[in-house]
Each structure stands twice: as structure tokens, then as C-alpha cells.
Amino acid sequence: MSGPPGAGKTMLARCLAGILPPLALDEALEVAQIRSLLGELPAHTPLDWVRPFRAPHHGVSMAGLIGGGAGVAQPGEISRAHNGVLFVDELAEFQASVLQALRQPLEAGRITITRSGGSVAFPARFTLVAATNPCPCGWAGDGRRACRCTPAVVDAYRRKLSGPLLDRIDLKVNVRRVPPTLLANEPVGERSAIVRERVIAARAQELERQGCLNAFLKPARLRRHAALESAPRKTLERWAEQQGLSARGFHRAWRVARTAADLDGSDQIAEHHVLEALGYRLHDAAA
């Protein structure tokens, strides 16, 4: 999520927990194991059904985020967020090396920490949510408040944000500030509980069709379980061509389209699902 200060990015991230289904038994057990390792398992309610939500501060160390540390290797924030959400607020403030270290667990769902005495692997399969300002002063593109940054500074900032990590993010949205007048008049949107029902139904459809969530479909299985008809396929290919999408990016967009169709309750992936998925890939954040 990219937007000015006060646009509601942090609030939205925290709301994510409310629309995710509760932990399944095996997931809850994994979370309990990690907490036990950290000595943080509450005696009276060892099993928690609420998805973990972790929001490390941008000053967090590599060991604190990824795991490790002096002595016996300890799970880091990414493992504390296993089966839950890792919220990286103020993305640009994090050290680049720390952010790059997220790539491996994002790909593999676990982190292996190697020591001279041996190696240990911790589970680290989490949903990454990141929030950032569009520029250092925060107001680029606001429309009401002017951005005070020079073009060179904005460029450097955007370049810092871009790169292999951003390429792995499936949904990129701009969050604009809500004008105060709208805050007072705006009718209440869908309640989290209703959205959660939709999410649960979509996940059930995915599990029934292919035995796993769409996020875990490798390309071969994607071709089998998320086959594209001619029109949506052409649209996806055309965009990929025009925007120079990498193979990884192509498959990621395809998975999101499959999920859009599942959220719609649709077996077939229609062209508008592909267009929606492509719409979430920002291409103006750095070259």
C-alpha cells in the first residue's frame, strides 16, 4: 500500500486479520510450537485460533526479523508471523539488506539458519503486507498538499523501494487520503465478517479443486487447474509483452486472476479477472 500519512494504511493492514479465516488445527499447532520455543506459550490457553499479526519496527535487526541471534538460534518475526500476517510499515525505512533477506522465506515458506554447529530451519510462511509513502515527505500525488521533494530525491526513494522484493508483491495499491467530508457521510462498507465468509468460501473452492491454496500452485499445476480461455489468455500475454513482465510476474498475475475468479464464485477465469489482477501491478514505481 502506497499513500500519504494518515491515509489508513496501518489500519487496513490490521483489519486483514479480521477477514482471514481462523487457524486450522494443524496451523494452530505450528503456531503453538513456535511460541513454545520462544517461551511464550500461555499456560491456560495454549492453542490460539487467531492468526498471528506481527508488525516489526523498521529498526529491527536481521536476527530479530529473520531469526538467529547469538547462542541458540531463535525464531525471528517472520516465524512469529507463521500462518499469519507480517506487516512491514514504512518499507523505505528498513535496511535494504534486511528486506532482501525476506525473499527466501517468501519463496520457500521457511528459513534455514546455518551455524558452524549445524543448521536449523524454522517455518516462516506468512502473508506479507507492506506500507510506504510515495516519497520522503509523503505527499507526492496527494492533489491537495504539494510534495516538497526534488525529483532526484523522489527518484532515489522509488529506486530504493523497487527491486526483487517489490517484484514478488502481488497486489500493489495506492491508498489516498479520505477527505474529512466523506468520512462523515460515507455509508458503512461491508463488514469484516461478510468479507471473511467470502474468503472462506473461496479458499474452500480452491482446496476442493486442487488441494492447496492458489498461492502455492506451481506453473505446471497452474496450467492444469487455472486454465485460461482464449480472450483472458490474450489479454494476459498482451500486457506481459507491453509491460515487460518477467516469467515470475506472469505466473503471479495468473494466480491472482485465479483467486479473483474464486472470490467471484466462478470456476472459469474471465477476462475481467485477468484485468483486475493486472491492475494491481503498479508499474510506475521506478523503471
Binding site: 502506497s2 507526492a140 492533489g143 489516498r176 507491453q242 475481467h272 484485468l275 483486475e276 491492475g279 510506475d284
Partner: protein, 282 residues
């Protein structure tokens, strides 16, 4: 401030240009698509009519003016706030080369090797006003450097002209202020030609020609969305969804489709109608 003598300016390319009228086209770095389109179109038509276009090679209005002049097959001069051997901003290297190749010039009152420093730009603006016959401000917010160029023009007894804009746009507060204070209003190229006393130009009130949009196929659905987009103020997918009473997923999808066609483009945190020729610009 006393601007330097024209002949003493450092230059790359042909300087001074052939005798003839010269118009400075200046404005904000944070230009809106409207401002850029106006600067480009004015520059193109003026250049085609033989007017030398002067500007500052900055992002936004300046770059659009230089591009427009080059597209019109004319001559344009970039007045630099650095030495002429340094291209600032760096991204405009190719534009600078095209300016020289087109018979124009990069000029500067600063010696070779001078790096960009804040205080040098107002001095550059004075030089821009000094070497031009009229100064046209296309878009300027309250604190824009283009207003310094306008002030310099007044001190040097050059005509100041300004292009009006949307009353909702902060980018037109400066230009509207200039008009209120007596600057001539520019609605089309003829207004500028008349101020330059280029013969055979009566002042008529038709609008500047809108740049043509590349032809594309609009599906039945897509039409509804294009009407709601303006040229200058970006509308986000969320606002459109609210206005059209459609689910956000559908709006995002339709906007992406229009973006592929080149009918709209992203700006800031939303979308605007695309005024440029050519398909979806990244």
C-alpha cells in the same frame, strides 16, 4: 538584478539564433497533463510559425515546451541553471541532444562545470526573460519559479502572458494571479503571435486544438468510465467505484483495459484521460 549580455552567454549549439521573434514558455515542474499538453501544443504551433522557443530544460512544462518545438520542426533554446556542459536534470540528456541537433542551443550565464545550486535558478530565470520577447506562463502554483521569470519579464519590460486553468487546480493559482494582475490571457497560439506582432495573426477566440487521441475501440462498458475522467485531476479507482456504484474489482479491471488501449494513464494515485498520442505510457 542585471541579466548578462546575450553575447556573453556560454553556449552549445547555434547561438544566437537567426533573427526573429522569441517566446519563453515556462511553468511548474509538477505540471498536470493539461499543462503539459498546452505547453507542447503552443510550442509546436509557435515553432512551426518560426518563433524560437525558450525554456529551462526542467521537468514538466519546460520539457513539454522543448518537445513541442522540436515536434514542430522549429528551434528551441534551453537556458541552464548549470554550466552548459552539465545536463540537469540528468534524465534530459537525450532531449538536450535533440535541441542542439535541431538547430537550437543550450545556453548559460554560468561557467562550464557549474553544478546545480538553488540560488542559480532565479538568476537563470532572469536570463530567460532577458533573451525572450514575451514570457508565457502555462501553469504555476503559488510558489513556482515561473513567477520569478514573470517578474523579471515585467522589470525588463517584456510582455507577460498566462494560460488559465481549472479553478479547482492548485497548479493554476499562480497563472490566474498573473492574469488578475494584468498579464495577457492566452487561449490559443494566435494570442501569443499577436503579442509578438507576427503579421497575419488576428486574435480570434477559438480554443487551442486538442491533441488527437489515438483511435481505439471502446467497448460498451468502457465508455461509461472515460466520461468520468478529467484531463488534469486524477480520480482513483475507489472514487470511480463510488461514483458509478460499481464493485471496485470491476472498476480496476475496466481501468486496466483502458490503460492497455492507451485511453487512460496512471497519474499520482489515480487515473486521468490520456491526451497523448501513443499507447499506454509506463
Amino acid at each position: 538584478m542585471q541579466p548578462p549580455d546575450e553575447a556573453s552567454l556560454h553556449a552549445r549549439g547555434r547561438w544566437p539564433p537567426a533573427p526573429g521573434p522569441r517566446a519563453a514558455i515556462v511553468g511548474s515542474r509538477n505540471a498536470s497533463p493539461y499543462g503539459e499538453a498546452v505547453a507542447e501544443e503552443l510550442a509546436r504551433e509557435l515553432a512551426a510559425a518560426g518563433v524560437v522557443i525558450v525554456s529551462g530544460l526542467a521537468v514538466g512544462i519546460d520539457a513539454a515546451a522543448h518537445r513541442g518545438a522540436l515536434n514542430g520542426g522549429g528551434v528551441t533554446v534551453a537556458v541552464m541553471g548549470t554550466g552548459v556542459d552539465i545536463v540537469y536534470p540528468a534524465a534530459h540528456g537525450e532531449l538536450a541532444a535533440r535541441i542542439i541537433a535541431g538547430g537550437g542551443a543550450l545556453v548559460s550565464q554560468f561557467p562550464d562545470g557549474t553544478l546545480p545550486r538553488r540560488h542559480q535558478f532565479p538568476a537563470r530565470n532572469w536570463t530567460m526573460a532577458a533573451i525572450s520577447d514575451v514570457v508565457v506562463v502555462v501553469e504555476a502554483d503559488q510558489r513556482s519559479g515561473a513567477l520569478i521569470t514573470a517578474e523579471a519579464a515585467l522589470e525588463l519590460s517584456k510582455d507577460v502572458m498566462a494560460v488559465p486553468g481549472s479553478v479547482f487546480s492548485p497548479m493554476s493559482v499562480g497563472t490566474h494571479g498573473l492574469i488578475r494582475d494584468g498579464a495577457a490571457l492566452v487561449q490559443n497560439t494566435r494570442d501569443v503571435l499577436a503579442a509578438l506582432k507576427v503579421p497575419r495573426s488576428e486574435v480570434l477566440d477559438d480554443p487551442l486544438k486538442t491533441p488527437q487521441r489515438l483511435g481505439f475501440e471502446l467497448g460498451r462498458d468502457a465508455d461509461g468510465i472515460v466520461i468520468h475522467l478529467s484531463d488534469t485531476m486524477a480520480v482513483s479507482a475507489a472514487e470511480l467505484a463510488r461514483k458509478l456504484q460499481l464493485p471496485i474489482a470491476e472498476v480496476v479491471g475496466r481501468l486496466t483495459s483502458l490503460e492497455l488501449e492507451g485511453a487512460v494513464r496512471r497519474l499520482d494515485a489515480g487515473y486521468v484521460r490520456s491526451l497523448r498520442r501513443g499507447k499506454g505510457r509506463a
